[in-house]
């Protein structure tokens, strides 16, 4: 399924103080369900999808504050989606955190070059630690670092 064309109207971010919305793109069913469960429970409503195409579709129709993006997806390379998100002016402010597993240093480096804000190693973190990392990333966004 070809990726959707970006939205024509620029997306307006939700009013300040509203609940942050998360997008999770992860093809492993058990992991995806578990992360969504924990994020929802932590007060971070999450839309979860198993393929890159569904993910892009969601991005085109909804606003997200943070995207958890698996790199190894069945239909596409996670970095491709990252690129599209970061190149589209309507979505490039969205925080993108890559979900990886060990032994992918070169991909991680490339991810940062493409604009990813961070990465999480699935095998090293418990789901609750993942939730904490997401909260940290969102907090960083609210209070941007002081300019040098």
């Amino acid at each position: 399924m070809p990726p959707q064309t970006p939205p024509t109207a620029p997306q307006t971010p939700p009013p300040a103080g509203s609940v942050p919305k998360i997008l999770l793109v992860e093809d492993e069913d058990y992991i995806r369900d578990l992360y969504k469960r924990q994020l929802d429970q932590a007060g971070l409503p999450t839309d979860a999808f198993a393929t890159g195409a569904e993910g892009l579709n969601a991005i085109a129709t909804n606003h997200y504050d943070l995207i958890l993006l698996d790199i190894m997806l069945p239909d596409t390379n996670g970095l491709q989606i990252l690129k599209e998100v970061k190149q589209n002016p309507a979505t490039k402010a969205t925080t993108v955190v890559l979900l990886t597993n060990l032994g992918q240093d070169v991909i991680i480096k490339e991810g940062f070059e493409l604009g990813a804000e961070g990465y999480l190693i699935k095998a090293s973190l418990t789901p609750n630690q993942v939730v904490q990392e997401v909260k940290n990333a969102l907090a960083k966004k609210q209070t941007p670092a002081p300019t040098a």
Binding site: I31, L34, D105, A123
Partner: protein, 493 residues
């Protein structure tokens, strides 16, 4: 003092004057004889008329002067023209041509002058053309050499650098001016895996001018202190170069990027590891959430069951990682990509990360400040952290509750040495020589063992690929000190 007269004018006058006087003196003799005869014949009348005498004398003088001067001028003019033409030649102006048509030897000399001038003009024209061609060829060669993506380096018979192209500058981080004339060994080192290769091997120069010697090897590591890269190196002795003091010419093809991509490539073991990780991550994740949400419902015995399931899962995960790394080390596809990193910072970080784990066992884990604030080493951050964590985790695992672990860094000869000391159970003497080999475990006390015995083997491989060393000092029952060295980087933070 008045300015000297233009020498040409002065000379011209003197030559003309000299010749005039010569003619005058020659002409004077018949003039005087004629006058004397005239006087003898008509002397009586003239004796009475001194005015007539004076007139005769005056006429003679005027005639002699004018005639001599005119004769001199007539004879000398072509010669003086030659003289002037010589000035043009002296100045380097070969365009001037003489037009002397006296029909005598002077005309011939003038023609020769013109011929010489014409020849010289041609010669200079040809030389200019040849020079333009050479300059063009030289800039063409330069343009080509500076656009070649491979580094091209030429050395003289003493292996001092005498040519260094733009790509070589990029590869080594040194500029041409910095390296010209310096021995190649002072600019960079070449390694094949962890063994250094001497310039005598990779830059072949022999005194016998027979078949040019060739060195060609792939997957070598270049370390210039400023930069590291993986290269394919081809070197050849320059045939007939001895007469021009040219020894050997090398091409270095940078394969760092290709190697990085290669390292990522999924071979069977990598794919297997990935497949194994997935369900293990699920088990770990679901168990962790389940325990956290239901802790209060379980009695200690039930908790112990769940805890052990969790620990075993973690062991499996570690084992998968270690097996993958061992496979890579064996197959030679394990590479480290080094960059300057702040070592002190990193060590402190690792100690921090493992402090909780130590605390769980009531072990004191501390970083001992040796007064070094920042230290820059060339290392692959992710991999070297693995080594550090492995050594500290081992120390925690093999130390009883209440023990202490110290971590500190000292600076040696161009290297940073990191020590991890514990008050644990130590290593028995017979186990010491086998400690860093595969699958060797010093003790069989199951409740203490969390590692798989692979950690030290991989740590050794990583440290050696960093061109460092790893070693241990230990006494059974007293504790151990594990140490490893890393080369210091020139980079300043």
């Amino acid at each position: 003092m008045p300015a000297p007269k233009d020498s040409s004018v002065r000379t011209k006058t003197s030559l003309t004057t000299k010749t005039s006087l010569l003619f005058a003196s020659i002409a004077a003799i018949p003039a005087i004889i004629t006058t004397v005869l005239f006087l003898l014949s008509f002397g009586a009348q003239i004796k009475d008329s001194p005015m007539l005498l004076g007139l005769v004398l005056a006429i003679n003088l005027i005639y002699i002067s004018l005639a001599s001067w005119a004769a001199a001028r007539f004879l000398l003019r072509p010669i003086l023209e030659l003289y002037q033409a010589s000035f043009y030649l002296k100045k380097g102006d070969f365009s001037h041509r003489l037009t002397i048509k006296t029909g005598d030897e002077i005309e011939e000399v003038a023609d020769t002058f013109n011929l010489i001038a014409a020849n010289l003009t041609q010669v200079f024209q040809r030389l200019n053309q040849e020079r333009t061609v050479l300059v063009n060829q030289s800039s063409k060669a330069e343009a080509v050499l500076s656009t070649i993506p491979d580094a091209v380096i030429a050395v003289d018979l003493n292996r001092n650098i005498n040519f260094f192209n733009k790509a070589a500058e990029n590869l080594t981080g040194f500029s041409t001016i910095q390296v010209l004339g310096k021995p190649i060994s002072s600019i960079f080192k070449i390694f094949d895996k962890k063994d250094e290769i001497s310039p005598l091997t990779y830059c072949p120069i022999s005194t016998t001018n027979s078949d040019s010697m060739l060195f060609s090897r792939e997957n070598l590591e270049l370390d210039s202190g400023q930069k590291q890269a993986f290269v394919n190196l081809t070197a050849r002795q320059i045939k007939g170069g001895a007469s021009h003091n040219l020894g050997c010419i090398m091409t270095l093809h940078d394969i760092t990027r290709e190697k990085q991509l290669e390292a990522m490539k999924m071979d069977f073991v990598s794919m297997a590891a990935h497949e194994l990780r997935t369900p293990l991550t699920s088990i770990k994740g679901y168990l962790s959430v389940f325990v956290q949400e239901n802790e209060h419902k379980f009695n200690p015995d039930q908790m112990m069951f769940l805890t052990r399931i969790g620990l075993s899962t973690q062991q499996l995960l570690n084992l998968v990682e270690n097996l993958l790394n061992v496979s890579r080390v064996e197959r030679g596809t394990f590479s480290v990509f080094r960059q300057p990193i702040d070592w002190i910072d990193l060590v402190k970080h690792s100690v921090n990360d493992l402090t909780n784990r130590a605390r769980e066992k009531k072990i004191t884990l501390q970083y001992v400040d040796s007064g070094i604030a920042h230290l820059s080493v060339e290392a692959d951050k992710l991999k070297i952290v693995e080594v550090l964590n492995n050594l500290i985790a081992n120390a925690i695992n093999y130390t009883h509750s209440g023990g202490t672990i110290w971590v500190w860094v000292e600076v040696g000869n161009q290297e940073a040495i990191t020590h991890i000391r514990d008050t644990g159970i130590g290593v028995p003497k017979q186990a010491l020589p086998h400690l860093f080999s595969k699958f060797f475990r010093a003790h069989d006390k199951l409740e203490m063992i969390k590692g798989t015995g692979l950690g030290l083997y991989i740590s050794k491989a990583i440290v050696e690929l960093h061109h460092g060393k790893i070693w241990v000092q230990s006494e059974q029952g007293k504790g151990s000190v594990f140490s490893f060295s890393l080369p210091i980087s020139n980079h300043n933070f």
